[in-house]
Structures are given as C-alpha cells and as structure tokens.
C-alpha cells in the first residue's frame, strides 16, 4: 500500500439528477508529485476533488487515494488527506490559534503534541503575530493561509487544494505559492485545481486539462505547450515587399501567424529557442538589408494550449466554479 500512487482514478462519472458532470475521468497523481487540474467553470474540477476527498460518492468508476478506495474505505482515506476548498473552512469568531487547536484535536494529534504543532504552523504561515486575533479581522491572504494551515495540522500525505488562490491579490498569491512549495518539498503529494494557467505553470509537475467532464490532455506543462507548437521568431515588417524578400531568404511564405489573420507583413520563423538558432535567423534577416519594425521570440503559453484543447479561452479568473 505504501507504493500505491497518491491518487488513482479510473472512469469516474458523476451525475446531478439528469445532468452529467463527470464523464469518465482518469487521473493518476504519483507520490510526491503536483498535479494541476485545469479547466473552465463547470468542467468538473470541484466535483472531481469532492469525490477524491470522500465528500461525494461517484455515480460510476473507481478511485483510490493512497491505496484506499474512496467509497469503501472512506475513513482510511480521510486519515491521510486534507482538502481545502473554495469557501474558507475556518471560524471567524475564533482566533487563529483556536481554529488550529480545534483542527489538531479533531485530527487526533496526541494531546502533548497539539501545542507544538500549532505553534509550528503559525510560524511557518506567518501568522504567529495574529494568532490571538479573531479570524474575522484577518485579510483574505491571511485567512487563506490559516485555512491551508488548518488542513495541514495532521501532516496529510495527499493534499487537495480547490482553487487555492482565487480572490487573492498578487502578493498574497505569491506568499501562498511559497507555502505550498514548502509543503510539497516535504513530500506531500498535491492535487490542485485552478483556472489560472500561471498557477499551474508555477506549481505543477503535470497538468491535466479537464473539459466537459473528461481529461482532454495530460502532461508536463512543457509537453503540453509542445503539442500546440514550438517557439518561433516573429518578425514584423514594414511592407509586404519586405516580407516577401525576407521570406524568400529564409525559405518562408509570409502570411498569417502573426498579428491579424491574412497579414502579409509578418513572418513566423520556427525555432528551437536556442541562442545559436535565434542568432542564425537574425543574421539571415540582417543579410537581406531589410530592417524589421520589430521582432520577438515567442513560446506558446498554457493559454494557447487551453484554447487549442478546449476550443474556448480561459474563464475570467474571478468567477467561481459552481458545481452545485
């Protein structure tokens, strides 16, 4: 059982009444790995997390967490996981410390350890100075850190974070990412859902793109980007004439690919992105005597991946996924 993957899901389906939300989700989270579940609103991200964290029973399919079946061995699963959802699971009327002590006791930490563990978490999450204040007075970032800390009192082996940075300002998001990296570095396996491509890029070893209740792509961020296209040197030329001259020197046809569709003043030169190759391309442009208006090296973003895979752009980040 110790060699089991952190999460193994096969053909998970879920229906709310007559509406299918999950349509056969297959997922594997290896031990010590960070997997980002990326998808638009209603793709089934939250539903997947709720099933894996035993909060919801799947309509069909099977899932095991740390080797335990999420339906038949839910209690065993609960002993090794922690889930931090979209709505904060902390009590506003209690202080930060009281919240953590409550969670530590419910996690059945030995009594003698509770205090030390709570102090340790308050320090690590930069909440020590606010420990005696009611959570109602905390900022959004502090509250999210406390929420995460509350989920970590029992040292979970598998951590689920459902849209951890939704609603946080950039500074608070960076702080949260630092904490999450720290937790992962200690060996915790992490499955997070996000609508922020940057978040997946920053934190995840692997990305699974969820769309319409299915995983439509699964791979490292780099591999997914490679599926969409390689890096390119983009040249913006003053006239169609210039573009034709440079194009023939490089063996390329000017055309769409840069700027507006049908543009004839732009060139897209595929590159492996190495310094040598980019220099070679630029030297050959230089040799034609044409001076481009501008140029840049572009590499595909996860946004491109997302658009290519799902056919629609990413959602506005402030919208909440609502699976209810």
């Amino acid at each position: 059982m110790n060699d089991s993957p952190a999460v193994e899901a096969e053909g998970l389906t879920h229906r709310y009444g007559s509406v299918g939300v999950l349509d056969g989700v297959d997922l594997t989270l290896h031990r010590g790995e960070v997997l980002a579940l990326l998808g638009p609103n209603g793709a089934g991200k939250t539903t997947t997390v709720r099933i894996l964290s035993t909060l919801l029973e799947p309509t069909g399919g099977r899932a095991r967490v740390a080797g335990f079946d999420v339906v038949r061995e839910a209690r065993r699963v609960r002993e090794v996981i922690s889930v931090t959802g979209q709505s904060a699971a902390v009590d506003d009327k209690l202080t930060g410390r009281e919240n953590l002590v409550t969670m530590a006791r419910l996690a059945h930490l030995p009594r003698a350890e509770v205090r030390a563990r709570v102090d340790e978490l308050l320090d690590a999450f930069d909440l020590a100075s606010a420990a005696g204040r009611r959570v109602g007075t905390y900022s959004g970032g502090m509250r999210r850190r406390l929420d995460l800390a509350a989920g970590l009192v029992a040292r979970p082996r598998v951590l689920f974070l459902d849209e951890p940075s939704t609603g946080l300002d950039p500074r608070a998001r960076q702080d949260l990412w630092d904490v999450v990296r720290d937790v992962v570095a200690q060996g915790t396996s992490l499955l997070l859902t996000t609508q922020y491509l940057e978040e997946a890029d920053q934190l995840a070893d692997r990305v699974a793109v969820l769309d319409g209740g299915r995983v439509v792509a699964d791979g490292t961020p780099a591999a997914l980007k490679a599926r969409v296209g390689e890096a390119a040197v983009e040249l913006d030329l003053a006239t169609a004439d210039d573009a034709a001259r440079v194009g023939s020197a490089l063996g390329l046809v000017p055309g769409p690919g840069v700027g507006e569709p049908g543009a004839t003043t732009a060139l897209r030169v595929p590159t492996d992105g190495t310094l040598a190759h980019v220099r070679d391309v630029l030297d050959r442009v230089d040799a034609t005597g044409v001076v481009p208006r501008g140029w840049s090296v572009v590499s595909p973003t996860l946004d491109d991946v997302y658009l290519a895979l799902t056919g629609h752009p990413t959602e506005h980040p402030t919208e909440q996924e609502d699976a209810a």
């Binding site: 709310y16 709720r50 964290s53 035993t54 909060l55 919801l56 029973e57 061995e73 209690r75 065993r76 609960r78 002993e79 090794v80 996981i81 922690s82 889930v83 931090t84 959802g85 979209q86 709505s87 904060a88 699971a89 902390v90 009590d91 009327k93 209690l94 009281e98 409550t102 969670m103 006791r105 419910l106 996690a107 059945h108 930490l109 030995p110 340790e120 978490l121 320090d123 690590a124 999450f125 930069d126 009611r134 929420d147 509350a150 989920g151 970590l152 029992a154 040292r155 979970p156 082996r157 702080d175 630092d178 904490v179 720290d182 937790v183 200690q186 060996g187 915790t188 699976a323 209810a324």
Partner: protein, 277 residues
C-alpha cells in the same frame, strides 16, 4: 517564512485506528468546546437572548399583568408567568442554534470535518450541548430578574433540581428540532422562518394565560401541545401548583421530540454527501 515540518509520517497506532468509535468521546468534546466558544463570542445573540425575555416579562407583568391577574386565583401573575418566559427564552436560543447549524452546513467547515476521520454528527451534538449551556446561563439571568421583580418560588432544593432538569430536557428537545431545521434548510431566511414556530407555540399554551380562558379550538390545542405540560411541571415544582400527570407527559414529549429530531437530523446530515455541493 520559516520552513515547515510537514513531512508526512506514520501516525501513532492510536491515531491511525480506523475504528469509527475510537475517538468518539474526544471528538464530541472538541466539538462541544468549539460550539460553546462560538456561542460565547456571539455577544449580539447573547444580549438579545437575555434582553428579549426580560422585556417580555416587563411587558407581561406590568402591562398585561394587571388585567390578567383578575382571572387568576391564589397566585401573583409574576409567579404564574415566569416559567413561560423561561421557555420563550429557550425557544429563542434554539432559533439561534438553527442559524448556527445552517451557517456551518452552508459554509466550508462541514466539508473539512467530513474530510477528516471524525464522525460527522458529533458536530450536531456540539451545537446541542452549547445550546444547553447557553440556555442555562440566560435562564439564570431571567430567573434572577424575576426574583428582583418579586418572583418568590417556594421550592425545595429537590424541586429546583427537578425544574432545572425539565428545562434542560425541553432545551435539548427543541434544540434538536432546531438542529434538524438547520441541517435541512438552504438559507438563513428559511431557518429564521422555520424557527418562528418555536417562538410562537408557547403563546398558545398555559405559559401566559390559563387555557380555560381560550376559545374551544385553541384551548384544545393549548392543552395538548408539549409546552403546556412542561410549563405546568416547572410551575408546579417552583410555585406549588397542581402537578397531576404533567411531569410524565412533559418527559415523554421531551424525550420523544429529542429522539425523533436527533435521528432525522443525523440521517439528513449523513446523507448530504451524496448530494451536490
């Protein structure tokens, strides 16, 4: 931020036990502690929980009391009405519990509890026990104010204990009913509306006026609803009125209501994980 020792590690044998009952007592205690803390921080409802019954007592005794007194023989209206005010106070406390349970269920914290190796209904027990503790405090204040106004019970220590016991039983019963409401309803507004019944039912009982003075239909309801035997029991124990079968009826009602709603609340609460969320 300093580094964090989060390294997953084997738990102690006790902590990794998958037996559901292994930590039941400790879980209940933790939940009770949490709910009592939450209640003690909710100063608004505590003040309201005391102020409302006190104001009602002033209104009933000094505004209506003179007129009602005429229909009573042998006792002062203050002595007559105090037990009713105490129950009204308990109804108000139960309504707040319904709101607290609804907020827990609607918020994210229940999901956290459910994703931990904790038996879910211990949370409900926590709310009920916190409600009893709160009601004992507010009841104490109400009785104290009544004493200042001239309430003079002639009860022995045993009778006092009996009265407190029946009040606790009643609080447990209506708090379980309120907890059921909190688990079932989807919004704070619905919880408020549903618990309005708890605040209203005592009026159509022997709490404020003897049911004999009511029209036949209301009188039938007043004499056979659970508040009346509970009131008559407290009244009998504290002020020496006729007890009759009231204590037996009161206990049967309280235990019945508590059992039915505790089971219903537990079942509905346990079933929620199959639903959308």
């Amino acid at each position: 931020m300093t580094t964090l020792a989060t390294a997953p590690r084997a738990r102690t044998a006790a902590a990794s036990s998958a037996r559901p009952g292994a930590h039941l007592a400790a879980d209940v205690w933790t939940m009770v502690r949490r709910c009592v803390l939450l209640v003690s921080r909710d100063v608004d409802s505590l003040v309201m929980g005391v102020a409302l019954p006190v104001m009602l007592m002033v209104v009933f005794v000094y505004v209506f009391g003179g007129a009602i007194q005429a229909g009573l023989d042998g006792t002062t209206y203050l002595n007559y009405v105090t037990p009713g005010i105490v129950l009204l106070c308990a109804g108000f406390g139960a309504a707040n519990t319904a709101l607290a349970v609804q907020q827990d269920v609607a918020g994210g914290i229940v999901d956290r509890f459910r994703s931990m190796p904790v038996t879910a209904w211990t949370l409900l027990v926590g709310h009920v026990v916190a409600s009893v503790v709160k009601n004992l405090v507010t009841t104490g204040v109400v009785v104290g104010v009544a004493y200042l106004m001239g309430f003079r019970p002639d009860a022995t220590l045993a009778e006092w204990l009996g009265a407190v016991g029946i009040i606790v039983l009643w609080v447990v019963a209506i708090t379980w009913a309120a907890t059921f409401v909190g688990v079932v309803v989807r919004s704070v507004d619905a919880a408020s509306a549903a618990t309005f019944v708890m605040l209203f039912v005592p009026y159509v009982s022997s709490a404020f006026v003897p049911p004999q003075t009511m029209p036949a239909l209301l009188r039938g309801f007043a004499e056979h609803q659970p508040v009346t035997p509970v009131i008559e029991t407290i009244r009998g124990l504290l002020t020496g009125t006729e007890l009759g079968t009231s204590p037996v009826l009161a206990v049967v009602w309280c235990v019945g209501i508590a059992t039915v709603f505790a089971v219903l609340a537990g079942v509905v609460f346990g079933r929620r994980r199959h639903r959308a969320g």
